[in-house]
């Protein structure tokens, strides 16, 4: 209402020449915003690292949920025969009308065995599978309801106990840096003094550079951003890898209830910037760079995979047919009317089910209130 009235008053007040030059597409960002809010966002986050580095606790702290309620810890005998698994937990979160479908991909068993040769292979296979599925969907006939399961970001947990990157850390990151955005974190940072934290961060940064590991780079600030934002951005970049602490419990510190860990010698506050970099990680991951992570996944990693795939297909075709085929064709059968009808039916069914689910969620939400 108010915008309309303001607009009207502006029409009355402005001169004719200005009126002629105002077309109105400046409202496009608002339209995009409204549409996105209606549609909702999705984000797939992978967490990787050895057992016991606080991955689950950190994910719970980041998204203020409890995703791992019924988890059972395997004992040592069971662990000896355990292989690396991939588990997915999906949760729908809503904040101020904006819906986020968050998927956490966990990798239990990574790095836990005595012999960890190629323990990252199940993980790279999973990421490639998601790319392949998206590739097929994208090249398919009906592209309305493509599910995007591609991994947008991988948080890799480095133990704070060592003196830098271990061989398994280097090999894992090198296997994944061209498939997914890697953000390296120093886990359980409450066992490090400030000096030790700094030394370890410097060491890890040097080794990442030395081994040629391409971790996720923050995009450069636009030159027209204000000074405060530029300063924050600079601080963020110098702070990597982030030294994080997570907590599932709320403790009382300095008269307030905060997320933290209670020790006999003091209280570690997770959201205190002088204690750890949790706030920086959260801001970066959720508040400022979530969309950029998705863009880089689509524009860089997925395109790399796609180009690689198409190249392989063309070379295979060339080998088979002994001629140059200019357009790479996917080995899809030409659909007949029957298959097309089936596809349409399935799509409508999917849409109906999604709407029903939403209605049910709304009802449950209203019931809780």
């Amino acid at each position: 209402m108010t915008t309309n009235m303001r607009y009207k008053s502006r029409i009355i007040k402005t001169e004719d020449s200005e009126d002629k030059q105002y077309v109105g597409f400046a409202t496009l960002p608002n339209q995009v915003h409204r549409k996105s809010v209606k549609k909702g966002f999705d984000f797939t986050l992978m967490v990787a690292g050895e057992s016991g580095l606080g991955k689950s606790t950190l994910v719970n702290s980041l998204f203020l949920t409890d995703l791992y309620k019924d988890r059972k810890l395997l004992n040592a005998e069971e662990r000896i025969s355990q292989t690396v698994e991939i588990t997915k937990h999906t949760v729908d979160i809503e904040e101020k009308g904006v819906k986020l479908k968050l998927t956490i991909v966990d990798t239990p068993g990574f790095g836990d065995a005595v012999n960890n040769n190629e323990c990252w292979k199940p993980i790279t296979d999973y990421i490639d599978q998601q790319f392949e599925q998206y590739f097929r969907d994208e090249s398919g006939l009906n592209r309305k309801n493509i599910l995007d399961n591609r991994v947008h970001c991988c948080l890799y947990f480095i133990p704070p106990f060592g003196h830098g990157l271990r061989p398994v850390d280097v090999e894992f990151m090198k296997a994944l840096h061209e498939r997914v955005n890697i953000i390296a974190l120093i886990a359980k940072a409450d066992c490090l003094t400030p000096n030790e934290t700094k030394k370890l961060k410097d060491r890890v940064r040097d080794e990442i550079e030395r081994f040629g590991i391409k971790v996720y780079q923050f995009p450069e600030c636009d030159s027209d951003e204000d000074e405060e934002f530029k300063q924050m951005d600079k601080e963020l970049k110098e702070c990597t890898p982030f030294a994080v602490i997570g907590s599932n419990t709320v403790v009382e510190a300095r008269g307030q209830r905060v997320r933290g860990r209670l020790y006999p010698w003091g209280i570690v506050e997770v959201e205190n910037q002088s204690h750890c970099d949790f706030v920086k990680l959260r801001n970066m991951l959720i508040r400022s760079h979530m969309h950029d992570l998705k863009d880089v996944t689509c524009d860089v990693h997925y395109e790399n995979y796609r180009a690689h795939c198409i190249q392989q297909m063309t070379s295979k075709l060339a080998q088979d047919n002994r001629m140059d085929s200019s357009i790479p064709i996917l080995p899809l059968p030409t659909p007949d009317a029957e298959t097309e009808r089936l596809i349409k039916m399935k799509d409508e069914e999917l849409k109906r089910m999604q709407e029903m689910l939403e209605k049910m969620q709304q009802q449950m939400h209203e019931k809780d209130q």
């Binding site: 810890l73 960890n116 106990f161 060592g162 409450d190 020790y263 010698w265 003091g266």
Partner: protein, 325 residues
């Protein structure tokens, strides 16, 4: 045993004084091995235990914290003295253990080293003219460092302790324990004890070697508390007007010798103040004797005197089968 009551002072108790003087003159030897992944604070803990720079790190001038590709064993010896009592302390470090991607059989060099020391001692003992005091390089205690994950024992921990618990006294500790809250610490310790029992691993102090009720009570208290959650440091800070060994963080100072903060003091008491002689005795009378019996049986079976190589592994059914021939 029916004793006779003395009706006067004889002076038998002066034997204790004589023993004391002799041992003080001769000095003690203590060989401690530290095993664990790189970065768990092994060198720092050893320095803190003996309040001097005795670890390999402090002794090598060009020390670099690089992960080595194979497991080597490096030993450093020092003579430290306190109130006239001299101790020759040897610290055996095991860099490279558990640091590779494939850690299979990374415990083999360690088993080999321990058996070699037993072999050396045995060879000396069997000489016709023996030295008055055989130099004792046998490993009296192996401190195994567990990372403070808060979950359970890892497969590599189980494999290592299973094999080595049979030939040496293992004392497991939770390293860098300042990342666990008190509740997490208790849960972790309980799960570790369960895992140890389930895998049949015997750590020091072993139940079977308790000699009497007094020992049992004392050792039971220790057994309920292992593995000790330790924090080590060589830096001092001011706390309440006292200088204490501690780690200073933004949220407080972790006092290493404060039993409310960590169990370093308990570990030190166990290793140095109360059970040092017991560790040596268990090594000599139990582990060494087991090795010796096996060796001599094996040499009997082959009827050719001692072979040149020490046993490869603690348990070898092959030799036992031979000895039954």
């Amino acid at each position: 045993m029916g004793g006779r009551d003395l009706f006067g002072y004889v002076g038998i108790e002066a034997v204790l004084d004589q023993m004391r003087r002799k041992t003080m003159k001769a000095g003690f030897e203590f060989n401690i091995m530290v095993v664990g992944q790189s970065g768990l604070g092994k060198s720092t803990l050893v320095n803190t235990l003996f309040k001097s720079k005795v670890s390999r790190k402090s002794c090598t001038p060009s020390y670099e914290e690089k992960i080595s590709r194979t497991v080597h064993l490096k030993s450093v010896s020092h003579i430290i003295e306190e109130k006239g009592v001299k101790m020759r302390l040897t610290v055996i470090d095991t860099p490279g253990f558990g640091d590779q991607i494939n850690n299979e059989n990374c415990w083999d060099p360690i088993v080999k080293y321990i058996n070699e020391q037993y072999e050396k001692y045995l060879t000396e003992e069997l000489h016709i003219t023996r030295k008055r005091r055989i130099p004792d390089t046998r490993v009296h205690c192996c401190v195994y460092f567990l990372p403070a994950t808060g979950h359970r024992l890892r497969p590599i921990d189980v494999e290592f302790m299973k094999r080595l618990g049979k030939i040496v006294s293992i004392v497991p500790v939770i390293a860098k324990a300042d990342t666990l809250t008190m509740d997490e610490r208790l849960d972790f310790k309980q799960r570790i004890r369960q895992d140890l029992q389930a895998s049949g691993i015997r750590v020091y102090p072993q139940k079977e070697y308790d000699e009497d009720v007094e020992d049992r009570i004392r050792n039971d208290k220790i057994r309920e508390n292992i593995p000790f959650a330790v924090v080590g440091t060589d830096k001092e800070h001011q706390v309440n007007g006292n200088k204490v060994l501690g780690r200073k963080t933004k949220w407080g100072i972790i006092e290493v010798e404060n039993v409310a903060h960590c169990e370093f003091a308990n570990l030190r008491d166990l290793l140095v103040r109360s059970h040092l002689q017991d560790l040596k005795d268990v090594t000599h009378y139990i582990h060494y004797e087991t090795y010796r019996v096996r060796r001599l049986n094996e040499s009997n079976a082959s009827v050719s005197g001692l072979s040149a190589l020490p046993l490869e592994n603690g348990i070898t059914e092959k030799y036992e089968a031979q000895s039954q021939l």
